[in-house]
Amino acid sequence: MNPDDPAWELIGTYLGGSASPEQTRQLEALMLNDPKLRTAFLRYARMDAVLAGQPPSAAGQPLLSETPWEDTPKIRSARLRLSPVAAAAAAGVVFGMFCSSMVLAYVAPVASKALGLLWESFETGPAPLAEGVPNEASRWGGDDSELVGMQQGVKPSTGSRMLRLRRPDFAGKPPAASVRADMYRVVDLRAHRQKIGHGEAMVQLSALFNHGVSGKALGSDGLITLYALPNARAFTGLVPDDSRLSLGAVAMVRKSIARLDDQPQTWEKLQVELRLPAETQFLVIHLGMKPLPPLATGSEFDGLYVDDVRLTLGRRAALP
């Protein structure tokens, strides 16, 4: 189709969500009678979906080594080897699956770069589950939390929403000495088994932390942990005692900030890297915050926020 064809403009207007009913009917009538125009429309829609799901790391900010994966099959033959998961990812281009917070998005095969597994800015996903460690890979879960816009002088780092950690517990959690709010997300790496099997796979996790100005607490800390797990049993059924994650892990890494600064305008970043043992099948991301000084057990927190969680899979040779 000629780039100057006015139908392109109608397509752009429709997919931009700003077509009037008359323009919609006009485009509809044209498309019903023109297979080439329908093909053009589908191309435009696919491109729009892919662009909307491009994490920044894929657009010029690779977080890890860009050494190509030597074991990656040639792209041209990749379709012949599609696993169900990869097939879903391929189909996902049409479906618009490549949203940063969607579980099926991260299995998109990218041949030669560090691979963005997750970029979560809490803009479009469902509210996190308040049920401890989630048993499914598509959700955040943990203690009681909510998605909020700007509040207490803290503006979301990206977009218009961020995660507020509301309590150090959730309904049904046995009373314990929990003074920290913990959130988790499971990431399924089984589609990347071939990359991980060589022992050179690294993952990098980062998250931004902040706390508000008018909360009850004077300050807060921040914590991230990344667990590499050999099977789903290592994270399922951990509602009452999530500390068992470390017992089932084949590798883990943790980093914390003892005390965040008192500037709600600035987000503070925690970042860790972990070399994945060959048997890794799942990752569990853990984010935690607690007010300082700690509040009494069961108290509701005020003004603890997380945003912009990124997870990237890359490759780095082991030290000699």
């Binding site: 969500g17 391929a90 189909a91 996902g92 281009v93 969607m102």
Partner: protein
């Protein structure tokens, strides 16, 4: 899904529902082609359900065209991996200001009017510029794919 639901935000919402269904079931389906067909089916049903719930919104296509699009998307012999890779290559070829504009426009939660103000344009001018860039990207992607095919 993007082709069946009029706005990006709506398609994300519907896609969340699709992803939940796919995630729960995909281990039960062993053949890639079966999974693909089933995934398309779920997406189609969810998209039609979205339109049904919304009533006959005059800003959306009618069922006949939606069914036609869903069917053609399913049957298309498109190698999505290759197409995506070609698009990435084309993005890299864009002049820096254009690429930066695309990245800014597709950042989560961005508002076009705010972006237009920030870049010193009117919203209409921004839409037109982005539209031209998208057309450039589509043309470039198709050219790249046809060159790949000729090799």
């Amino acid at each position: 899904m993007r082709s069946l639901v009029p706005t990006l935000e709506d398609s994300r919402e519907v896609m969340q529902e699709v992803a939940v269904v796919l995630w729960r079931k995909f281990e039960d389906i062993s053949k890639a082609e079966d999974f693909r067909r089933w995934a398309f089916g779920v997406a189609r049903l969810k998209a039609l359900d979205f339109h049904r719930k919304r009533g006959r919104d005059r800003h959306c296509f009618g069922t006949e065209l939606l069914e036609l699009l869903a069917s053609e998307a399913e049957q298309a012999d498109t190698d999505y991996d290759l197409e995506r890779q070609a698009l990435e290559e084309c993005l890299e070829k864009l002049p820096n200001p254009q690429r930066a504009l695309v990245e800014a426009a597709y950042a989560p939660g961005v508002r076009m009017d705010a972006l237009a103000k920030q870049s010193g344009r009117t919203a209409m001018s921004l839409y037109k510029t982005l539209h031209r860039i998208r057309i450039t990207l589509i043309q470039c992607t198709q050219k790249t794919l046809s060159m790949e095919g000729a090799r």
